[in-house]
Symmetry: C2
Subunit: 190 residues, 2 copies
DNA sequence: TGAGTCATGTAACCAGTTACATGATTAC
DNA sequence: GTAATCATGTAACTGGTTACATGACTCA
């Protein structure tokens, strides 16, 4: 539903190729929206047909040529109209929670490893986000622009979204600690 | 992917009809997995064909007859095998975050109402979860079973999952407060 | 008599995933 | 030579959403 819009936002932040978009969806944008390159190429083609984006062939030396996409007026209008359209607060889909409740009907301790793995993944992501925040928003280079640009909407909004990611990972780590404490109580004594 | 498994867990907790499952997916299970009745009926039929669940016609008075499903041995085995299969830490998909970053290319203040609506939805859900927790886990009736059943895995695991929902809603409310503070700075002064 | 709840479904469509496919260049 | 990266795609499948459809009973 919103992949088009996520692509529009990403291309407005910086024009690029399908391949570059796919990489961004593994990183910054990917913190809150994922997409495979297959999906991106398909949607990009549709967006091109609909006049939402313009393409330009960019010859490169030492690597294959690429197609650089940038947002057209129709795309900007489509984004704007979506932004003004209310969306439903999203419903969560959390496999791990299903597993945790399901563990009651199996061996709960068998889940410990799995939960630890997930906790580690969230720790890794947290570290990654914090590094990004230090680099782009609170580090010395981040202030290169100086305090004379305090109302750069793009940066501020990127930062507040990143802070959301940080808060989410912290919450998950704490929660998984709690899950592990619960699972441990069904532990060896069983 | 895991709808089958969510249904198995729900039916193990308590057998019921497709309709009842659909209602549960609007409440308790729905906190971490949603499904429409159309989807449930379709999957339920497949699960029946695969021998994962057994059906029993239950005549009712004053209301239409229903089909009561309960988990069969094959279903229990399928759940167990899924529980032992590692899953990837899930990737988030958060429309609102796309909108917030997109707001930089439109009027950021137009998003304030939308964010407030979402914050209210999360407040409502939090209140709902807290009421459920008081009722089922920390209230006086919850202790009716007494301290002699301190290791009821089903209850403990349901509770820890609910605590996850509570932590999630609290985190979202705090974050959305931060988002609103940021949006307000691009406010009337603009 | 009309709205609301209980109850079960079909059909069409759309979005997302997985598998397959190609080909150039760079670095070891 | 071979693995990794850059770059772009097609095809088949699966899962989820939306729209449509029916029918009995209850309560105001």
């Amino acid at each position: 539903m919103a992949l088009e819009h996520a692509i529009l936002v990403s291309l407005l932040e910086k024009p690029g190729s399908g391949y570059e978009l796919a990489r961004r969806f593994e990183r910054s944008i990917g913190y809150f929206w994922t997409a495979s390159h297959q999906q991106i190429y398909r949607v990009l083609k549709r967006m091109e047909n609909d006049g939402w984006v313009d393409v330009r062939d960019v010859p490169q030396q030492g690597r294959p040529d690429k197609k650089e996409y940038r947002v057209a007026d129709l795309g900007r209008a489509a984004l704007s109209s979506w932004l003004h359209d209310p969306i439903e607060p999203e419903s969560v889909r959390h496999d791990l929670a299903v597993k945790i409740r399901g563990a009651a009907f199996d061996d709960p301790t068998a889940l410990i490893r799995e939960v630890e793995r997930h906790r580690q993944a969230h720790r890794d992501r947290l570290a990654h986000y914090l590094a990004g925040e230090a680099r782009d928003f609170t580090g010395p280079e981040a202030n290169a622009a100086g305090p004379q640009a305090p109302l750069d909407a793009e940066r501020e909004l990127q930062h507040v979204v990143l802070r959301g990611g940080i808060a989410y990972e912290r919450m998950m780590i704490d929660w998984l600690d709690g899950v592990l404490a619960t699972l441990a109580r069904f532990g060896p004594a069983r």
